[in-house]
């Protein structure tokens, strides 16, 4: 492959393998043993993989919407890469959900052909960002919570979930560092950036309650050592947020963090998810069975 001419290197092949966009990819879990852990309910494991997979898929889509809109090209690259990591995690988790379900659905069917009421993501993932401050506030909260979750999930009794989580820990550590860096820079910046960063943290805060409210599926699987009870993540989350807000000279929001306003784990969502799915699923639904 030519290394000097990027365009040439893309076009000097006689197959389509370079065009890694769209649908119809190779199974990301090809060759990974598909056996389910003993005694675990298929429907529960499928639902749990959908929860974590949908969090990543929907958050990734929101991050992709920042491409061409970020304040600097470096941040464009960062947000795109973080979205790509999460999309990769989503592909693995949706594929695992399909295996656990056992009904022949793969990642494409699950990503493109489910209605909003079948999505299991938390509301934090679907919330649109009013400005860059809200993006980094949301990303800080999301990645701090997800890192604590994946770190515990790396010892799951489901070896596939454990492996996906162990890989994700390395990635989400960088996501959290990126978001925390911006929260500190804007919070400890000018009067204007401080005020807007505080407003962004305050705006995101009511969505944090849902993150720690366990769903019955999570509790059943946590009992079996397969899932993580999210209420156990609260102390680590609070410790990280307290430290970031302190260094950023920001106040802890006075708005209540709960009870959870959303019930995303049960498929109850706001209009924002419908808007995301219209955009994400439109092409796949318009061309059933199409691969590109």
């Amino acid at each position: 492959m030519s290394f000097d001419d990027a365009y040439h290197s893309l076009t000097d092949h006689d197959d389509d393998a370079r065009w890694a966009y769209g649908t119809g990819f190779a199974d990301p879990l090809a060759g990974v043993p598909t056996a389910l852990p003993e005694g675990v309910d298929r429907a529960d494991l499928a639902a749990y993989c959908l929860m974590l997979g949908d969090d990543a898929l929907v958050m990734s889509h929101r991050l992709q919407q920042w491409i061409t809109r970020a304040p600097e090209i470096e941040d464009e690259l960062a947000v795109a890469n973080i979205g790509l990591d999460l999309l990769g995690q989503a592909r693995l988790l949706l594929t695992r959900a399909g295996e656990a379900e056992g009904a022949g659905r793969g990642e494409d069917e699950l990503a493109y052909l489910r209605d909003p009421g079948d999505f299991r993501n938390v509301w934090l993932a679907e919330r649109a960002d009013a400005d860059f401050g809200q993006l980094v506030a949301r990303l800080l909260v999301f990645s701090t919570w997800r890192l604590a979750l994946l770190d515990r999930l790396a010892t799951s009794g489901d070896p596939v979930l454990a492996a996906i989580a162990a890989k994700g820990v390395k990635e989400v550590s960088y996501h959290r560092e990126y978001a925390a860096g911006w929260v500190v820079r804007l919070g400890d910046g000018t009067d204007l950036s401080h005020a807007r960063m505080q407003a962004a943290i305050d705006a995101v805060w009511p969505l944090t309650g849902e993150l720690f409210a366990p769903h019955p599926t999570e509790l059943r699987l946590a009992e079996q050592g397969v899932a993580v009870d999210p209420s156990e993540l609260r102390d680590e989350f609070d410790g990280v947020l307290t430290e970031v807000l302190r260094v950023a000279t920001l106040g802890r929001p006075t708005v209540p963090a709960g009870p959870a306003p959303g019930r995303g784990r049960d498929g109850v969502h706001g209009d924002e998810l419908t808007e995301i799915l219209d955009e994400m699923q439109g092409l796949a639904r318009a061309t059933p069975g199409g691969a590109w």
């Binding site: 492959m1 290394f3 290197s9 197959d15 393998a17 370079r18 890694a20 990819f25 190779a26 990301p28 879990l29 090809a30 060759g31 990974v32 470096e74 941040d75 690259l77 960062a78 795109a80 890469n81 973080i82 790509l84 990591d85 999460l86 999309l87 990769g88 995690q89 592909r91 693995l92 890192l147 604590a148 770190d151 070896p159 596939v160 454990a162 492996a163 996906i164 162990a166 890989k167 994700g168 820990v169 390395k170 990635e171 550590s173 960088y174 959290r176 560092e177 990126y178 925390a180 860096g181 500190v184 680590e236 410790g239 990280v240 430290e243 970031v244 260094v247």
Partner: protein, 167 residues
């Protein structure tokens, strides 16, 4: 079928990475296993990052290279655990990265028990400039043209450069 002069493992090892074409897959450390049997060749690889689009191209390149070397029946499988670490990039791979102006990764972070530690602000991660060898350089952004690289700059020669992040 053409005459085979190489083993399947030899062929797989020499396929190059599409994003870092100075490195072979063996130097990148993603080939876990290559087996040949009557049913064909099975190459097991481990992904670098969950969302790395190069994995798709790597699968296709492996199958093409094996076919051209006379291995008509081949399959690429994934091994997720243990997760890939930059510690698996070989010495020759590191030398080639540096020669191409990309600072190779340092040792992957070792964690004590407990939560993943939070890093805030500037950290001295000991990345030397691949052009002038100045020992201390600064990060511009933790993400670059691919997820595995970050952008840095050298305060001595003033050149920006890429660095493969240690994971």
């Amino acid at each position: 079928m053409s005459a085979r002069t190489l083993t399947a493992a030899d062929v797989a090892a020499t396929v190059t990475d599409p994003e870092l074409p100075m490195l072979t897959l063996a130097e990148l450390g993603i080939i876990r296993d290559v087996t040949e049997s009557a049913e064909g060749v099975v190459v097991t690889i481990t992904p670098t990052y969950s969302g790395c689009p190069a994995m798709e191209a790597i699968r296709a390149d492996l199958l093409t290279a094996l076919r051209e070397a006379g291995f008509e029946r081949a399959e690429v499988r994934t091994a997720l655990a243990p997760a890939w670490t930059t510690d698996w990039i070989s010495e020759s791979g590191r030398a080639k990265l540096a020669e191409a102006g990309i600072a190779p990764p340092g040792p992957a972070p070792r964690r004590a028990a407990g939560p993943v530690p939070l890093t805030l602000g500037v950290r001295d991660d000991g990345v030397a400039c691949p052009r002038c060898a100045h020992p201390r350089t600064e990060r511009i952004t933790a993400f670059s043209a691919t997820a595995c690289r970050e952008l840095r700059r050298c305060p001595a020669c003033r050149e920006p450069f890429e660095h493969v992040k240690a994971i």
